[in-house]
């Protein structure tokens, strides 16, 4: 540290000296040697064709959101299904509501765009029923979803069903709100074959 400071002080005194220019005797600059440039042969380029003018198509959507899922991904399927690929049922019911049909139509469209995709359709029930009856109810719900997707043109060999009865609730709230969420058919998409 000490040496550095001392060195710095020495440099300062040197530069202070340099700011006072010593008188320099004037010198005549040598005259530049001028040479004529070599002649360049003239090449006549053809006139470029005028650009084709086209009207841009009108902007129909905003720029792709980098936060959106990659098209063709499982996340994209969920997104296109309206957030999650799940449709909901009434208490002890297995028929599809108009909203559920709408969601399933979008699922079917997606699966037609991506023909390698397959799905295991899970049927679920709420806890307000006994175990085996709910397994049956879940099977019926899964079958309702599968039958609708088939009716929308999805090949049956791309679909399989499984019932979890009341064994896999997604909402722990012990209220009609929670139970309603647990009565669902979930389209568990696979990008490979049906396992």
């Amino acid at each position: 540290m000490k040496h550095y400071l001392m060195g710095g002080a020495a440099l300062l005194s040197l530069s202070a000296c340099a700011t006072k220019p010593d008188p320099v005797p004037e010198m005549t600059a040598p005259a530049p040697v001028v040479q004529a440039p070599a002649p360049v042969p003239e090449i006549v380029e053809p006139t470029p064709p005028p650009p084709v003018v086209q009207q841009l198509p009108p902007v129909v959507q905003s720029a792709p959101d980098p936060n959106l899922p990659t098209p063709g991904s499982i996340e994209d399927f969920a997104y296109q299904s309206g957030g999650e690929p799940r449709v909901f049922f009434g208490y002890d019911q297995f028929d599809l509501s108009p909203e559920a049909r709408d969601v399933l139509r979008r699922q079917a469209n997606w699966m037609q765009i991506y023909p390698d995709s397959t799905a295991v359709i899970e049927g679920h029930a709420d806890e307000r029923g006994t175990r085996e009856y709910n397994l049956a109810l879940g099977a019926r719900r899964a079958d309702s979803v599968q039958a609708f997707l088939i009716s929308q043109g999805i090949s049956p060999n791309r679909l399989r069903t499984i019932s979890y009865g009341k064994e896999r609730p997604i909402d722990g709230r012990p209220s009609e709100t929670g139970w309603a969420r647990n009565r669902n058919g979930y389209t568990n998409l696979r990008l490979g074959g049906v396992s």
Binding site: D92, F94, V120, E127, R128, G129, T130, R131, E132, Y133, L135, A136, L137, A139, R140, A142, D143, S144, A147, T161, I162, S163, Y164, E167, P169, I170, D171, G172, R173, P174, S195
Partner: protein, 457 residues
């Protein structure tokens, strides 16, 4: 286990035991007592299903007599297990040993009955442990009717020292049988589903324990979802449903050998398994394209026969003990109700007509009752009815009671009870057929889907 039963007395047993039976079942009037003496054992069973307030029999069970320290340990532990078994049955009140006046020194002499009458003991169990060799102990006891001053039973078990607990349960069964006229259920096990975690992230594993909650062990190694185990009524075999390989199907497990077998690989889900009383066939539900129907599988030939064809849900089939009838759950009438049919699927008849929705029926091993779960007004309870649906009685009610199963003697029903909320516990509870003696069954953690074994051999 090697064992011998030794009856010390016989001639006076019957008369004396009737005295106590009238105390256990106070509804028995004097004229009924005379009738019972001349009737076979089955006639007494009817007493159990009358709902009367029972005055538990006060029973004294001193620690079994012993000479050495290790014998004394057995003598105390065995008496503890017997007292606990009898207390849990609700039919007995074991008296506090601190109140005992007499300390017997030899069980081969008559007790001083007056000393036992003073502390209001109705019955006395005098026991003794003897060591025969390092690998063999004798467990002996005499059961006394204190009021009559007579011996009701004298039994000697010969067993290995590490088998003391089962021997104690066998002694409890012998006492229960001598005093009630019915076979006991203490030397038996309960298979169940062990549960861990909140409802939204639950792990379920197949497990088994003694009926008093001791010796719990897992029966399967994996983490697959496993549901609804049921015992064979006549062997140490169980059937259950598993999601192994994401294929929900019915499996058979021999719990002695550990041999496990998938019972048929069907295109749809198979579930709700129950073995027939003779253990030779399996009744189950098979799902195809959303339709759930009942099938019976011959376990020898593996051929299946379809018993129901209704497009409605047909599920949870259970045989009558004589295998002639089947009770099951169906929503063919618009809501889940109970139905019976012949074993070939004919003569379907609805038997539940009460308020609410009925499911999970199970035929009593005695043959005269069907237990079930009923939901009404947002509550779930366990009930019983005659096999024609008459005399329905709801025994319990809670947020969620389900999965009833019978004790081997058909006197007790155990069931799953689940509490409200995502952290709501799952527990096993028991209640007598009479509607009395509701209590929680000890389990190592949360538990559901209990099924009682037959009495161990």
């Amino acid at each position: 286990m090697e064992r011998t039963y030794l009856e010390f007395a016989s001639a006076i047993v019957k008369t004396a035991s009737m005295t106590l039976i009238t105390r256990i079942f106070p509804l028995l009037a004097g004229w009924l007592l005379a009738l019972l003496l001349s009737l076979p054992a089955q006639a007494q069973l009817e007493i159990d299903i009358t709902k009367g307030n029972l005055d538990p029999v006060q029973i004294a069970v001193p620690d079994f007599l012993a000479t050495t320290q290790s014998e004394r340990d057995f003598g105390r532990q065995i008496a503890d297990v017997i007292r606990a078994d009898l207390e849990r049955s609700g039919l007995f009140k074991p008296l506090d040993p601190a109140s005992f006046l007499e300390t017997q020194t030899n069980i081969d002499y008559k007790p001083t009955f007056a000393d036992w009458r003073v502390i209001k003991a109705d019955a006395l169990v005098s026991g003794r442990i003897k060591t025969e060799s390092a690998s063999r102990i004798l467990v002996e006891f005499r059961l006394w009717d204190v009021f009559a001053g007579e011996q009701l039973k004298g039994v000697r078990f010969a067993t290995t020292p590490d088998n003391w607990r089962r021997t104690a349960h066998k002694a409890s069964d012998a006492i229960y049988e001598a005093l009630t006229g019915e076979s006991g259920y203490f030397d038996s096990r309960i298979v169940f589903i062990d549960e861990r975690g909140p409802k939204t992230n639950k792990t379920k594993r197949l497990a088994i324990m003694d009926q008093d909650g001791e010796n719990p062990v897992y029966l399967l190694g994996g983490s697959d979802l496993v549901l609804t185990p049921r015992f064979s009524p006549n062997s140490q075999t169980i059937v259950y449903m598993s999601y192994e390989n994401n294929r929900p199907n019915v499996y058979l497990l021999d719990i002695e050998t550990g041999r496990r077998e998938l019972l048929g690989d069907f295109p749809g889900m198979t579930y709700a398994p129950h073995l027939s009383p003779d253990g030779k066939s399996l009744i189950l539900t098979m799902e195809r394209r959303g339709n759930n129907d009942i099938y019976v599988m011959d376990l020898t030939s593996r051929s299946t026969t379809r018993l129901t064809t209704d497009p409605a849900i047909d599920v949870s089939a259970s045989y009558s003990p004589d295998e002639k009838k089947i009770v099951f759950n169906s929503d063919r009438g618009g809501s889940p109700q109970l139905y019976t049919m012949d074993a070939d699927g004919k003569n379907v008849r609805r038997i539940s007509f009460g308020k609410g929705r009925y499911s999970a029926p199970i035929w009593s091993p005695r043959g005269d009752k069907i237990a079930f779960a009923r939901s009404s007004g947002g509550k779930f309870g366990i009930g019983v009815m005659d096999v024609d649906g008459k005399n329905e009685r709801i025994l319990t009610e809670s947020y969620l009671d389900e999965s009833p199963t019978w004790s081997p003697n058909g006197r007790v029903i155990i069931f799953s009870r689940e509490y409200k909320g995502v952290e709501g516990r799952s527990e096993v509870w028991s209640i007598d057929l009479t509607g009395q003696n509701l209590r929680r069954v000890e389990t190592p953690g949360m538990a559901s889907d209990p099924a009682w074994s037959p009495l161990l051999p």
